[in-house]
């Protein structure tokens, strides 16, 4: 029988079993890649079904650790959307991985694909988790499973990057997030995600809630709020498919998704608004947005620039949570979707350029547009979406966030958002301009790049355009989450 509960279990089991299959088929590269692709497609179908049934909140108890400590999956619209983004892009990214890993003759490919599967399973666990404990567990699974991916190259640089990656992510999660989780459990008697906010329902005072909010905001290191962001630029030593799917989609989005979920279901927007901490955190997020953009401008390495751009864009979500108005939170949720599609396009473009020409620095990329026109068109579309221009998906989150900022009386923050968009133009578009209009440095690039690294970014660029027109259904799907949270909190005086 195909039930929603079974489907929840499968969302975890498919990538996990995919990982086992990949490990067993390690000696036959073609079969191994087929296993990855089949898992990705199956997962996407499974998640599509979950998206359908999310409104009925299917629940699945995975394990009872001890009295009062449960591992539970409970589906709700936010998680369904995050799962859909991660699993959908996994298909595209798997195609891309094959092209990239083979094109660059990388070693240890089996380990790479196995860890990738586990990481996706971790992301699914975060997306579907029904309480903080479950979320924390899969959050850590995601951290540990991506470590071998970050250090894939195995040279001194990769080890250094990996060390920073692991120490910041594990350090913040154990040092700040874990005490926040346990304190929540202590105050509320459970860690369940509750409409209207678990802490609000349990009448926790704004002062204590404020302390917890700070612990969560910095403890969820994957959200890369400054100053806990350095792991992200350092993770760029990983092969590009990892940067693309994990450090533009699954890992970082797991972070901001967790932040959003904590904001909506643990605090509730009214409690956040009542704490003095939320104003301070909103400003830290705004500073993060602008400062990371400024740093991005100074980077000549394309992946490093994109990484700092990600740091900046992630803080949009945190900002949305801290503004605590339904519109701003909706903007944050949409940013998870829109930024994922835009940024993965940019990262896959960077990897395609590297595969075809071995170039990593922006200053070397003059004239490449004539050599790879489709790729750079895709890149430009992705960049314009990140900037927030219509008719591209990235428009909507910025619009909602600005409205939300106005609505919650933080008009000044709109300046930061506008400044960031201008900075985005300044650091993303010159790359396109140089590629298309500057004369090429060297002639003789005759060999065509592999199709499998060009096609995926083109697909996601098309997705960015489609998403612009899908805003109606998306908004209708997500809106109840934020409206009900504020309504439920109002109903419970």
């Amino acid at each position: 029988m195909w039930t929603p509960e079974l489907s929840l279990a499968l969302a975890l089991a498919i990538p996990a079993l995919g990982g086992v299959a990949v490990a067993l088929l390690g000696r036959y590269p073609n079969l191994r890649e087929a296993a990855t692709l089949i898992s990705a497609v199956l997962l996407a179908f499974n998640v599509a079904y979950l998206v359908e049934v999310a409104q009925s909140h299917p629940t699945l108890e995975l394990a009872t650790l001890a009295p009062g400590l449960h591992l539970v999956f409970r589906l709700e619209p936010l998680g369904a959307v995050f799962a859909a983004v991660a699993s959908g892009l996994w298909i595209v990214n798997s195609l891309y991985s094959i092209g990239y890993m083979r094109g660059n003759g990388e070693k240890n490919q089996t380990r790479f694909y196995v860890c990738f599967c586990i990481a996706i399973a971790g992301a699914m666990g975060v997306a579907l988790s029904g309480n903080l404990l479950t979320m924390f567990l899969f959050y850590e699974v995601l951290t540990l499973s991506t470590y071998p991916l970050v250090t894939h190259k195995g040279d001194a640089n990769a080890k250094r990057g990996g060390a920073i990656y692991l120490s910041i992510l594990l350090g913040t999660s154990i040092g700040l997030l874990l005490p926040a989780v346990i304190t929540t459990h202590f105050l509320a008697g459970s860690t369940d995600f509750v409409a209207g906010g678990l802490l609000a329902v349990n009448d926790v005072t704004p002062a204590i809630a404020g302390v917890l909010l700070v612990l969560f905001a910095f403890g969820i290191g994957k959200a890369a709020l400054m100053p806990v962001h350095p792991w992200l630029p350092n993770a760029m030593v990983a092969p590009t498919p990892v940067s693309a799917l994990l450090h533009a989609v699954a890992v970082v989005k797991a972070g901001v998704f967790a932040m959003l979920k904590v904001g909506v279901y643990i605090f509730g927007s009214d409690l956040i608004a009542a704490t003095p901490a939320s104003d301070a955190l909103a400003w830290i997020a705004a500073i993060s947005i602008v400062l990371a953009s400024v740093v991005a401008m100074t980077k000549d390495n394309l992946k490093a620039r994109l990484a700092f751009s990600t740091v900046s864009q992630l803080s949009y979500v945190t900002l949305g949570v801290m503004l605590a108005s339904p519109l701003a939170m909706l903007g944050g949720a949409l940013q998870i979707v829109m930024h994922a599609w835009g940024k993965i396009t940019l990262f896959m473009s960077a990897g395609a350029i590297y595969t075809a020409t071995k170039k990593t620095e922006i200053s070397q990329m003059a004239g490449l547009g004539r050599y790879m026109p489709w790729l750079f068109i895709a890149y430009t579309v992705g960049a314009l979406s990140i900037i927030g221009l219509p008719p591209l998906g990235g428009t909507w989150p910025k619009l909602f966030l600005m409205e939300g900022a106005w609505e919650s009386g933080h008009g000044l923050l709109i300046v930061a958002l506008i400044a960031s968009s201008i900075l985005n133009v300044a650091y993303l578009l010159p790359i396109s301009a140089r590629a298309f209009f500057a004369p090429p440095e060297e002639a003789g690039l005759k060999k065509k790049p592999p199709m499998l690294v060009i096609l995926p970014p083109v697909i996601t660029a098309c997705g960015v355009i489609v998403l612009f027109f899908l805003i109606g259904p998306l908004r209708d799907y997500l809106a109840p989450v934020f409206l009900s949270s504020s309504l439920a909190a109002e109903a419970a005086p």
Binding site: L65, A66, G171, F186
Partner: protein
């Protein structure tokens, strides 16, 4: 539990409390006369299996009756010697039995490598004496016999630590240092017991408690408290009385370290709990003051200082030894909370820590067996050359940090919850900082194991070489237990809570 109660034959079940300590003592004598090491080992292994079975049987009896009292030689307490089992010491007994079996399976190849053939039988004999001493401390119902068995186990421990001399002569100084300090500790303890005897006129612990409750406390009993805490604290490696421990663990034979790290300090900690909670009373002013200002403070300092020291060690076993001192700090903190939740969290961590450190030291022993590894940097590349042992080491190491999916997480959860219940925010902060320090030193070990390449000797890269199965199996069982008891925390949490409730009288 009732089902468990009846699985021993009636006669055995009745005498189980005394058999559990007498069997290893007799076996020690038998082992000493064995002509070959393997035969002595068989005796030791058989003994530990018997102890484990008896411990399970006693767990069932205690589960059914609450308290099992046995009069040695038929002489009734308070004049006769009483063996007394309740919900507090039966879990410790179980720990001793199970880890005894596991580490003895592990012992054969490890000991064969490290100790001269002629001495092996005597070594196993000394080990059995130590084993029975630890059991005796755990089950003794009167204070003087706690001292006797403590000395039996200690003197045997000095011997088996010194046996590490085959690999490193520093084992002798390590053992000698421990001997001097251990003797001071034992002296303090016996002076304390003497004072208590003076004040109460009895040595039976239950009797002592009753008399103290009736007569109240005075200077003599306060002095007794101080002497006993210092004496047992030294045995339990309570900071700053831990200085004997790092060298003892670093230079003892690997099997001895694995066994002692998961049992010996635990037994001393149990004895401390027994005295502080059962004989003295947490409600007495000077006792409750010592909780906050002695145990909790000293525990927190240990968690910080010893963890920092661990980060900077170059010898792998010394590193884990300092970590052990820090982990004892966790237990002291739990005790110091003076609540049932705090004590049960401390006892839970006691059991979980035995699982972690047992696996970690066993893995280090396996590395030493195959490649002679001692220093942290020698661990390089073991992920490639000894993948199974390295995996076990990794799981247990992550458990030490408190990563979810391992029991370390469960420990931390209950400790933090207990601290919050007590309103001790600073303790929560200390627990987290100490976890981060644990992350730092565990990361050093794991980075060497997984991220470095195997060293090459004379141009030849070290080849993959699996540890012998007798080394591998107990290590993997312990590592798996670290994961299993995360998903099924109920049994251990239940034992710890029942123990705390028994000793706190449901307060």
């Amino acid at each position: 539990m009732d089902m468990l109660a009846s699985f021993l034959p009636a006669g055995v079940a009745h005498h189980a409390p005394v058999l559990i300590v007498v069997v290893p003592l007799i076996a020690a004598a038998v082992a000493a006369f064995m002509p070959r090491g393997v035969m002595a080992w068989s005796v030791a292994l058989a003994t530990s299996v018997i102890v484990a079975i008896l411990a399970f049987g006693l767990l069932g009896q205690v589960g059914a009756h609450g308290v099992v009292s046995y009069d040695v030689g038929g002489w009734a307490p308070p004049h006769g010697i009483e063996i007394r089992l309740d919900r507090l010491n039966v879990p410790i007994l179980l720990l001793l039995g199970v880890l005894g079996v596991l580490s003895l399976i592990y012992a054969l190849p490890s000991v064969a490598d490290e100790i001269a053939k002629k001495q092996q039988a005597l070594f196993y004999s000394a080990f059995l004496v130590c084993f029975s001493g630890l059991i005796g401390v755990t089950i003794a119902g009167d204070a003087f016999n706690v001292f006797v068995f403590l000395e039996i186990s200690s003197i045997a421990t000095y011997t088996i630590i010194a046996m590490g001399v085959g690999k490193d002569r520093r084992a002798l100084t390590a053992s000698y240092n421990y001997l001097v300090l251990g003797t001071i500790g034992a002296t303090f303890f016996v002076i304390g017991v003497g004072f208590l005897y003076m004040a109460t006129g009895t040595l039976n612990m239950a009797d002592m408690a009753a008399v103290l409750e009736q007569n109240g406390h005075n200077r003599v009993t306060q002095a007794a408290f101080a002497f006993i805490v210092v004496g047992l604290g030294l045995k339990a490696a309570m900071f700053p009385l831990h200085v004997w421990l790092p060298n003892a663990y670093a230079f003892a034979p690997n099997f001895v370290t694995a066994f002692l790290a998961s049992t010996a300090t635990k037994v001393a900690f149990y004895a401390l709990v027994r005295f502080v909670f059962s004989i003295f009373h947490p409600d007495v002013a000077f006792v409750s003051m010592s909780f906050t200002w002695l145990f909790a403070v000293v525990g927190v300092i240990a968690m910080m200082v010893a963890s920092v020291q661990a980060v900077f060690q170059t010898d792998a076993r010394r590193l884990l030894a300092y970590s052990s001192v820090a982990q004892v700090g966790y237990m002291m903190l739990g005790l110091g909370m003076g609540t049932a939740a705090g004590l049960s969290a401390g006892l839970l961590h006691l059991m979980n820590h035995a699982l972690m450190k047992g696996a970690l030291f066993m893995a280090l022993g396996a590395f030493a067996l195959n490649f002679g590894v001692r220093r942290v940097k020698d661990l390089a590349g073991l992920g490639k050359t000894m993948p199974a042992s390295a995996m076990a080491f990794t799981v247990a190491g992550l458990s030490l940090v408190g990563v979810p999916l391992t029991v370390g997480f469960t420990s931390k959860w209950y400790l933090v919850t207990a601290a919050l219940e007590r309103g001790w925010w600073w303790a929560v902060a200390a627990l987290m900082i100490s976890s981060l320090l644990a992350l730092a030193y565990v990361a050093r070990l794991l980075a060497a194991i997984w991220m470095e390449n195997p060293p090459s000797h004379h141009g030849e890269v070290a080849q993959r070489r699996l540890a012998p199965w007798m080394v591998l199996v107990p290590m993997l069982i312990l590592a798996a237990a670290n994961v299993y008891f995360f998903f099924h925390a109920d049994p251990l949490v239940g034992l710890a809570q029942a123990a705390a409730d028994a000793v706190m009288g449901g307060r």
